[in-house]
């Protein structure tokens, strides 16, 4: 069992630099595949996160830390569709850190074959038997920053309804059922904010037969006045497209021209 408190040198051996350095992590021909520094360069680690495993650089022996789960998933730091590696605390599920996926061609090249066991992926992040510095899973700074981005305390976790004029920045938390009822039923939804108008909800707009403008039937039915701006190159947009099309609208727009 690997200990959480490793000295800095062992840490580097196991984690292979964690992909923090975008260029230094690449095996450049003609340059030694080696990243060992002098012992004196690394003070003993007193803080920091638990690591997932150690790999003995000489024997290749793998020692996995069972307290840490490593899962491979997709990065969404931008739209490049790279893979990523999520280190999680097994007991709490807390996200410890984000790195690259050695099975993914955008993170590692050559990338690990799909059929290689996960133990091989751990090996690839170390220096065992010359594997580590050749096939290493890295993500860029944007990918690593996703952890910090989504850890911010102002993240929205419950439905909000505006409690002032639109754009004024005043909100109140509401329940999920209330949210669904209000947006589907419509009505005088903002009477509290001093607005007397009737708002058409999803149900009122869900008319896939009547033209939205009888003088210009080519514009489509009433339901075509539902517009969804959203969806990144994130492989999730299909749900938005499915919703929009099943509602009876063409108007689903992903990030394409922005």
């Amino acid at each position: 069992m690997a200990s959480i408190n490793l000295d800095r040198r062992s840490f580097l051996k196991a984690a292979g630099g964690l992909g923090a350095l975008s260029i230094a992590g690449v095996g450049i021909a003609g340059q030694p595949h080696k990243a060992h520094a002098e012992d004196a360069a690394f003070p003993e680690q007193k803080h920091g996160q638990p690591i997932e495993a150690t790999v003995d650089p000489e024997t290749g022996k793998l020692d996995i830390n069972d307290d840490v789960v490593v899962r491979y998933s997709a990065c969404l730091g931008c739209y490049s569709s790279c893979g990523n590696r999520l280190k999680l605390d097994r007991a709490s599920g807390r996200l410890i850190s984000v790195g690259g996926n050695p099975y993914h061609p955008s993170c590692a090249y050559p990338y690990l074959d799909f059929d290689e066991p996960l133990s091989e992926a751990y090996q690839s992040m170390g220096f065992a038997s010359g594997k580590g510095n050749l096939t290493r899973g890295t993500v860029c700074g944007r990918g690593q920053a996703t952890q910090d981005v989504y850890a911010q305390p102002n993240r929205i976790t419950a439905p909000l309804k505006r409690a002032g004029k639109r754009g004024e920045g005043k909100w109140k938390a509401i329940g999920w059922d209330e949210l669904i009822k209000e947006v589907t039923e419509g009505g005088k939804l903002f009477a509290d904010a001093g607005e007397d108008r009737e708002v058409e909800g999803f149900k009122a707009l869900h008319d896939t037969e009547t033209p939205l403008n009888p003088a210009q039937p080519d514009l489509g039915p009433v339901s075509n006045q539902f517009v969804m701006l959203g969806g990144r190159g994130d492989g999730r947009t299909t749900i938005g497209t499915r919703f929009t099309n099943c509602f009876g609208s063409l108007n689903q727009y992903g990030h394409g021209s922005t």
Binding site: G167, A215, P217, L219, Y253
Partner: protein, 744 residues
């Protein structure tokens, strides 16, 4: 061209790993044709890198200089250009064909003037229709090389691509001649002047490009298209590849974005098929972004003409070239044209912040106006610029808590799909039925309330006919993973030790129920790898990509040729041509505003330490780079009396003012300024937020930096808000435009 490798929305880690090694060993060289140097994964200090500081918004001119040189030297592949159809080209060893030999009707009095000649125009008989074809197959006319006689393009193996004459009494020219005309419109000296590069550079690249058979490739770098003449730049790449036949060839312009059928109709589940889906399509409805249609084809146009109007002009331009456009959808919404958006959902998006020219008071006021957008629901994890203007905010899951199946992005020739899955429990509220608040849960619950098809019980059909419910994200996406797991050869079942290592036996019970017992261990195997990538060795076959499909390079675009501009009556060029940036009526911007008064162009590029509209809220990213700069060329700055660190003011002809800190540096072309986007936020934590009476003060650090403000198009009626955009594709005029720079 137009972007540094790795700085352009393509995976820069992957590109670095695949190019650095080869640069180092001298196996490849890269010419970086970009007004702004930096931010990529290779630097000019690396071996084999040459920086060509091109003037912004002149990509087509640079390409045409190269085309001209290749045409003058006759170093193009004439055999390839002669193939009039894919089958002949494929038999000749290629993986694409061009319409170089297809004839265009140039007789002004002919009813099909400007169109490609069809069999009927030439008095030729069409082959019998394929009973299996769902859409009519067009038959074009060529002059067969062997007989010198007109022939249907599918019935000739080689055709003349420089033909000019009459067919069936109709004046025609081959498509290739239109490119030739446009290439010879300017001399190489003129192209050098237009682009700020040199004749020697264009000649060197032209020579190099044709020296490797099909193993050379011109590629679109992102950013090059986001100028008001970006379409011409985009056309440049296939035009060049067509001269050597390198499309879809190994070592050439190889296939990319190759993946399996996942969230669509796949091997196990038909995820794109919905029984009872409303029959609303582009045939009987119109995209609010005004695409896929000419104005003259709309009911509005017909009604106005019927009412006696002569040459009616639309409130906003119509764009028949692109499929859809998010920035143009936003423009339509704020101008309430061609119809009103009654309910707007902004999901994990920030179109207003991400479109240069849109984040301005006039647009914000429109979106605040409840008579313009009666109901606006945002779905996000943070209150960005869009969500700030919403009536409701639905909390969404983060990338660590959501699913998604992504086709591989980046210039990579292999096949595979990345899978994002809920690797940790969502932090959003748990709903009464055990689901967590998310976009998917919102869609399901609204759909059920409205009795919509496609959600709830029996919403998804498997290929064996079994029906399944769609009540949460896992119900849909795990079926997409099953499609991936079973594509071609099904993957093996997950190993027991891998289940243990990733704690896959602790996943929610609902996940296992979303697929069959046979599928579950294979689904887990794919999840455990974060996707599925096929061995790279399987990606190429006989010198071509194994995934090559029929591929046509158009030297003459009939679609463009027929796009008569409703404001001025001008027809755009159907072939690649250098066209300076223009406004929506095709008046060059330099004819409206003086280049002496507004001598600079913007170069708006993707930042390394922000991501489009995201990541300014990360303290770590702000520590790495607190703000962006207005980056100036050393000589330009000296002439303006601006020193590094000075505060400078940049203005455009429609009155926008941007103030920021100058960074005076090498690596910026003359007459442009570099500015990274993703900075200059109004919201996303920069604003105050009061929730349930508790005020959270905004953090001004999140607002730091400059948001590039593109000018408005002045050629539309008063009151219309239309940020400067490409006249064909509607892409924002992010780079280019006209600006003045002064010390503040």
């Amino acid at each position: 061209m137009g972007a540094f490798p790795g700085s352009n929305g393509k995976s820069f880690q992957g590109i670095a790993k695949r190019t650095l090694d080869r640069l180092q060993t001298g196996e490849c060289t890269i010419d970086v044709v970009d007004p702004v140097l930096g931010n990529g994964c290779v630097t000019p200090t690396a071996k084999g890198i040459t920086w060509v500081p091109i003037k912004t918004a002149t990509n087509a001119a640079f390409a045409l200089g190269i085309v001209r040189k290749i045409l003058e030297d006759k170093t193009y592949n004439a055999t390839f250009l002669s193939y009039p159809n894919y089958q002949s080209a494929f038999a000749g060893g290629f993986a694409s064909y061009t319409n170089a030999s297809h004839l265009v009707i140039v007789d002004e009095n002919h009813p099909n003037y400007r169109k490609l000649m069809r069999a009927a125009d030439a008095g030729l008989e069409e082959p019998p229709a394929d009973p299996k074809a769902t859409t009519p197959v067009p038959y074009y006319v060529v002059i067969d090389q062997a007989t010198g006689q007109p022939a249907i393009h599918t019935q000739s193996d080689a055709a003349q691509f420089e033909y000019e004459g009459e067919v069936n009494g109709v004046k025609v020219r081959s498509s290739f001649l239109f490119l030739k005309d446009n290439a010879f419109e300017h001399t190489l000296d003129e192209y050098a002047e237009i682009t700020g590069t040199s004749v020697a550079t264009m000649e060197r690249i032209a020579k190099e490009f044709v020296s490797h058979g099909t193993k050379a490739s011109a590629r679109l770098g992102f950013g090059g298209s986001a100028t008001a003449n970006g379409t011409t730049g985009v056309l440049a790449y296939p035009a060049l590849n067509g001269l050597i036949g390198s499309a879809q060839m190994t070592g050439g312009c190889n296939c990319y974005r190759i993946g399996s059928k996942t969230t669509t109709d796949g091997d196990r589940y038909k995820l794109a098929t919905v029984k009872g889906k409303p029959a609303v399509s582009a045939k009987n409805a119109t995209y609010i972004c005004r695409t896929q249609k000419l104005f003259s084809q709309t009911d509005e146009y017909k009604a106005r003409v019927a009412a006696g109007e002569k040459d009616p002009k639309p409130k906003l331009p119509w764009l028949n070239v692109p499929s859809t456009s998010d920035n143009q959808a936003l423009v339509s919404i704020v101008n309430e044209y061609p119809y009103q958006a009654k309910i707007l959902v902004s999901w994990m998006t920030n179109t207003i912040q991400a479109s240069s020219g849109a984040l301005r008071d006039s647009v914000i006021e429109k979106l605040k106006d409840t008579s313009v957008v009666p109901l606006h629901i945002a779905c996000d994890a943070f209150i960005g610029e869009h969500a700030q203007l919403a009536d409701y905010i639905v909390p969404d899951t983060t990338p660590f808590e959501s699913f998604g199946l992504v086709t591989q992005e980046g210039y990579w020739r292999g096949k595979g799909n990345t899978v994002r899955w809920q690797a940790k429990q969502p932090s959003t509220i748990e709903l009464s039925d055990g689901r967590f608040a998310s976009f998917e849960a919102f869609c399901v619950d609204v759909a059920k309330a409205c009795d919509m098809p496609g959600f709830g019980d029996n919403a998804i059909e498997a290929t064996d006919g079994t029906s399944y419910p769609l009540n949460d994200a896992a119900d849909f996406f795990l079926k997409a993973v099953a499609n991936l797991a079973f594509a071609e050869e099904p993957v093996a079942d997950v190993r027991d030790e891998d289940v243990k290592l990733q704690a896959l036996d602790e996943l929610p019970a609902a996940w296992k129920e979303a697929v069959t017992p046979e599928e579950w261990p294979k689904v887990l195997n794919v999840l455990s790898r974060g996707g599925r990538f096929w061995p790279i060795e399987t990606s190429q076959k006989n010198g071509r990509s194994a995934y090559a499909k029929e591929y046509l390079i158009q030297y003459y675009s009939e679609k463009k040729a027929l796009n008569k501009n409703p404001y001025s009556g001008v027809h755009p060029d159907a072939a690649l041509r250098y066209v300076p940036e223009d406004f929506c009526d095709r008046t060059p911007i330099a004819e409206v505003y003086s280049e002496q008064e507004w001598p600079f162009r913007s170069t708006n590029y993707k930042p390394r330490f922000r991501s489009i509209s995201m990541q300014a809220n990360s303290p770590i990213m702000r520590d790495l780079c607190e703000k962006n700069y207005l980056e100036l060329n050393l000589d330009d700055a000296a002439e303006l009396g601006i020193k590094d660190g000075d505060t400078v003011r940049i203005t455009n002809p429609t009155g926008d003012v941007m103030t920021g800190e100058a960074m005076v540096r090498a690596g910026i072309a003359r007459s442009t300024f570099g500015v990274a986007y993703g900075y200059g936020h109004h919201a996303y934590g920069a604003q105050d937020a009061e929730i349930d009476g508790t005020l959270a003060k905004g953090d001004p650090a999140i607002a730091a930096g400059v948001h590039l403000q593109t000018m408005l198009d002045p050629m539309l009626e008063d009151g219309v808000i239309y940020p400067h955009a490409d006249s064909d594709a509607g892409s924002p005029g992010r780079s280019g435009g006209m600006y003045n720079i002064e010390k503040a």
